[in-house]
Point group: C2
Chain length 452, copies 2
Amino acid sequence: MSERPIRLNAFDMACVGHQSMGLWRHPADQGWRYKDLRYWLELARLLERGLFDGLFIADVLGVYDVYGSSPDAALRNAVQVPVNDPILTIPAMAAATEHLGFGVTASISFEHPFPFARRMSTLDHLTNGRIGWNVVTSYLESGARNLGMVAQLTHDNRYDVADEYLDVCYKLWEGSWEDDAVVRDAERGVFTDPAKVHPIRHAGEHFTVPGIHLCEPSPQRTPVIYQAGSSPRGRRFASEHAEAIFTGGPTASHVAGIVADIRARMREAGREPHDARVYTIATVIVDETEAKARAKHDELRRLTSDEAALATVSGFMGFDLSAYDLDDPVEDVESNAIQGVVAGFRAAENDGRPWTVRDIARWAGIGGMGPVIVGSPSQVADELQRWVDEADVDGFNLAYAITPGTFEDIVERRGVHRTRYEPGTLREKLLGEGPRLPERHRGARMRALVRQ
Amino acid sequence: MSERPIRLNAFDMACVGHQSMGLWRHPADQGWRYKDLRYWLELARLLERGLFDGLFIADVLGVYDVYGSSPDAALRNAVQVPVNDPILTIPAMAAATEHLGFGVTASISFEHPFPFARRMSTLDHLTNGRIGWNVVTSYLESGARNLGMVAQLTHDNRYDVADEYLDVCYKLWEGSWEDDAVVRDAERGVFTDPAKVHPIRHAGEHFTVPGIHLCEPSPQRTPVIYQAGSSPRGRRFASEHAEAIFTGGPTASHVAGIVADIRARMREAGREPHDARVYTIATVIVDETEAKARAKHDELRRLTSDEAALATVSGFMGFDLSAYDLDDPVEDVESNAIQGVVAGFRAAENDGRPWTVRDIARWAGIGGMGPVIVGSPSQVADELQRWVDEADVDGFNLAYAITPGTFEDIVERRGVHRTRYEPGTLREKLLGEGPRLPERHRGARMRALVRQ
């Protein structure tokens, strides 16, 4: 055992099936309750009982409609559609818990930073400093079309816009209101001292925001910045901004390469290499014995949907797999991107036999691009530890096969990955300092820019 | 007594001081707790105990900075700044109540209808059909500037955009998913029947939305549409769309004219004149005797802030009153809009003496543009009944002088304005039919447009 406790984060989405394809058909799955606030309250309490760092809610503003050039497969299999707005469940979950953090996904492509900054400040107030923001630079093409955007920005340019978007937010969050701006002095009749509230006067390439932030300082000011992009430009963005990074890959050695690169980039950006916690995606199927866990896994496997899995991979990779038979060899799939992903899967399985399209569906049926770790509590603990040691991750972003069953199994059978919550805000819990951004973070430098 | 029960709605905002100017200085006021979720949970439970129809949360995305060409007076007096995002408290309040409705203010000017429709559907799911949307066509100029908009649309054109915006939403809410689209048939492996989910193919002047709605049908589908505009174009908009209308004026006879006009316009729009509930703004100061109520009112009056009141009126009317002394006669104020408003105030007070700027501040210090009704429970009940009879309103949008004290007084001392909640969704409770829009509503006609 290393001395660092293994950190756990739960990965969910306000939809029926997130990373598990067709498993809404499992009799114990409650994913269909995503529209019932009680599902979220129960889940939050469960995760806090299990000392999870947080609940990370993914989002897409669109449908997976590459497969067969239609949303039909996604609809039929409830592949991330229907999908609700993820942000609205969070304050209620915060009221039902004391320590659990909440990471919410929101794209910078479709909302202006001025109202968005207010929304996040409000969340930070209402959760008493337990909010994280997963910065996404785009949604699916199908989402962009519905917003009247003919084409999305190019990939790298999106990150340039994102840099400025975050700078606007940092100026509003960090610079506009001084800590002691709100005095609430009834005698003098001064609620806020106007001399301590500053217009940010931002005039950039993409945004013009002259005014003051509308919110008084919240516990963390800037929410904990999450990032999940894996491209080189995405990693550069993460190295400058992110305080929690969600990555993934089929093997520990694959993830080790990503993590080493991120930590090196963070040093280049003037930060400490461990200024961001890194979580890698995994799905854990655990039971009291290996045999029971394997039987559980087999039962789940029988209920996954190949069509759902291929619709997801098609949407994710932007390549339509509907033209292939399940028995077609993967070599026939004319997509370098998919060939690359499949090579990773095969390495993870150390599987010499020829793969077919059916194997892609099998892999992607549970847990997305990450590993499915099956075994007894001690076997799972050993495997997680191996990943931590080999990949230098801080912990895991745990997807579910069925919800909340997969999380219940983990909470009930977890090894002692930690014994208590750290005190304070989400930032203090995750990073051991806070509640505000450290001075070496890009966002902290915006304070002086506003107040010069 | 007429046979209709008098309907009550509570009027609040996610800020320190909403319609009460400087009263955060009152020792019992808890407006500063707006950033604490518990304030909202306590308020929601209180209002439900008092059988209020709903809680209506106002919003502005900007600051009142006309007075002295600066936000300083607004900041100093906490005039609707700091202000949080209002929408995030609602699901938690819904979880703490069973019947109370929630009206949330959101402008069509700064958010695209595609993600907005998803947000409202999510709210309708999470509240189990208790959501209303107060449609606003603009924010303050100071808000528009921060969104990089050089000038806002002209007033009438804003309503044209709003018409199309609502049509897009109606198509998504009413037309995209048939009632039985979600089948959740594990045997056949069909969660949603794709044949029953329709792309809306909207291609209009302002918006292009080709795709399907992202949410499955919620209890009401379309949230109860609230509207508060009072201009002729605003009333025409309300007559076509609104199911609850918030109006206001200093006298019952003034409001009677507005209400008669709205009900006539509704008939012209093919609706019944009572297809929308009309609430007029009022502030009630009640205690067990008239003398105690008057003493309470006097104490409140002593704590209102003239600067705060004038900053609000200046922002609201777009005319800077900071150049005038409090003792200047109102005749010197060179604004027809303000002269018109003051004439109404004076009529309400039946006050022959010459008014000064101080009187404007006095009037606007509590309860905005509406009356302050002071007295014993029976006196207040009589006065509310007089308004109902003379103005043909369904009830009142009750502002607070201090919060939650003003609401507590009403709940504890109210006459029997009603004895129980009607069953069902907010629409059914308010209008006696539902949960879906009636066929004669503009939004219902969009169903056929999508499915033709």
